[in-house]
Homo-oligomer: 199 residues x 4
């Protein structure tokens, strides 16, 4: 990668970062391309060399952020050698919740924009070649623990939707209770859902 390519990557990254901060602080609708360029210390015209418009940037940003989050969560899971399928699930849940608690912007951005399609796409990709993606790992783990589940995707979908929508309410709005209070019930509900899908 030449010097110029490195410079270009840096500018793209600066635009991503500025846009993310602004979307979070002012909201997507109220963020202007001027704002983004100015915060990235680039000229307005430069924006158009990297993205078609604000919507183009946003869509790429969602994928980028979701991939990163799942990649990190999965990475930490691998480092901790957690036994039991259910514990792995709760481990990742807790990791993601912790990240969300520290970064409300990220939480808001992901839960308000993410659809299952993008999600699945995100955790089927792996930045490192040869490494298992999270989803492959999930399927293998079910098998390794001799858990019979004829609809693994639907089960995962159900769990993830439950996590993301309750996170938004409990962490950001603290409604009906804070996440610290809610967490045991969330764990319990996840386990119940798993039980429901696996006899």
């Amino acid at each position: 990668m030449g010097k110029i390519d490195i410079k270009k990557k840096l500018k793209e990254k600066a635009l991503f970062q500025s846009a993310f901060d602004l979307f979070m602080n002012k909201g997507f609708a109220k963020t202007t391309i001027s704002d983004i360029a100015e915060k990235a210390e680039l000229a307005k015209g430069t924006f158009y060399l990297y993205f078609k418009d604000k919507y183009d940037l946003r869509d790429k940003l969602i994928v980028h952020k979701a991939e990163q989050l799942f990649f990190d969560a999965h990475q930490i899971l691998l480092e901790h050698h957690v036994e039991e399928f259910e514990n792995q699930l709760l481990f990742m849940t807790d990791f993601i919740i912790e990240r969300f608690k520290k970064d409300h912007n990220l939480l808001q951005f992901i839960t308000k924009n993410l659809s299952w399609g993008i999600f699945k796409n995100a955790f089927e990709n792996s930045d490192e070649k040869d490494a298992l993606t999270f989803y492959e790992y999930y399927l293998q783990s079910l098998e390794r623990h001799h858990i019979v589940c004829d609809k693994p995707e639907i089960m995962l979908f159900t769990i993830i939707e439950l996590i993301s929508s309750t996170c938004y309410n409990c962490i950001i709005l603290e409604q009906p209770v804070t996440m610290d209070e809610y967490l045991p019930y969330l764990h319990k509900s996840i386990l119940q859902i798993v039980a429901g899908f696996t006899q």
Copy 2:
């Protein structure tokens, strides 16, 4: 209520209706106040006699729509004399899902905007005096069926969040499966969650 007050109510209603239609067809961001007023066959200035701005209208509209939906669901439930607490829950779930299947706009509008706070508010109100609100009925029903649950609000919250976020994916995006395919798993998950909260 005098003639004038009736007229005013009608105009407010016309603005609500026009705005809702437009928000659904063009999206909130692309709907202008001119559009709304024109569709309601009122002058632009008249809009400002009823709402502060587009955001004010939207917020009031959300509450209005959510109230209506819950009021209807509850009404139908009362008319059907459904036995068993769990069946009542599933009955209402199915009613709401049916409504959503027929009215994607409503689904999108409610699930993208509703927080638990607004929801709870909505089903604690009853348009008819003396009638039990949905939430009171829910608590009484638990009691009448001798179901012990120390966190009824958190249980309901968990269920509703699960329903609303999976509805959005399965009905609108048909991801990962259609709602018809998903429904049995949703039912099962709800029952499991109830079981988790009640021993």
Copy 3:
């Protein structure tokens, strides 16, 4: 004057008073007819029963306020039996300055809007019949003190313009000095102008 006429006078007065307060606090341009009517606790439509528009009201208000001020100043002068023409002039000057110091709004309103034409009109009118007007009194006083001045109107004009424009700067802006500091120099300048017009 019948009951109805009294009521009408009261409403006109309320509109005058509200308008004056608002013109002072928000400025003429930013004061709306709605504001005026609301503050006077009258309906917007009622405004149009009394005045053609905002400009009409303002013009009538200027005359009204200037008349009042001069009438009061002259009245007090008559009560104090001040000897000497020059002392009478300084006495009225001081009275007006005192009034202005207590009521910056009045000062601003009068000095920013008053032309010599309106002024002269104002002090040629007397609310009480048979009484001398201020201007007649001024001419008689010159004569009584055997002061020869072939251009009494121009002399008075010169003095009044000097007073009103320096008042605005020294009282409102306190530029270049406060009125307390400036007063001796103003007195001296007035006396010098009189001397210039009368040998």
Copy 4:
């Protein structure tokens, strides 16, 4: 200064000029930003690259015009080698009155908007480096002619206020007399004021 900067200066100047003309012909309140931009042959949006709003432009315009007037008056004075302090004062007075007689718009604009603070600021600035400002020249002239005056600023303030407020009445309204008729009395009054401040 690059090509672009020159172009920018030209556009600012065009906006100043258009605004001034319009303020004079239609009045400040009735002049719209559209009008100003259109007359300057620029797009509406361009206006906002140079000024915050109409008020911002006006305030800058006042300073600009007053500076220009005083700079010109002072320049002409220097070219004419007028002896005597009093004659210098009357010379500048006459120059400014002549300018005002030819340009009622300028007169109206300056006398209706100028405060002593802005005025002083204006004649303490000099466009040419090393040159004495008008105010410095004024102080030196007093000294050079051995005129003792312990309050030179207050004296100048008194004179300028008298000139500007009488100009407005005599030139624009021709009340109580025209400026041609008034001028000898104005001269006399100025000399009397100087005498009053200097024994």
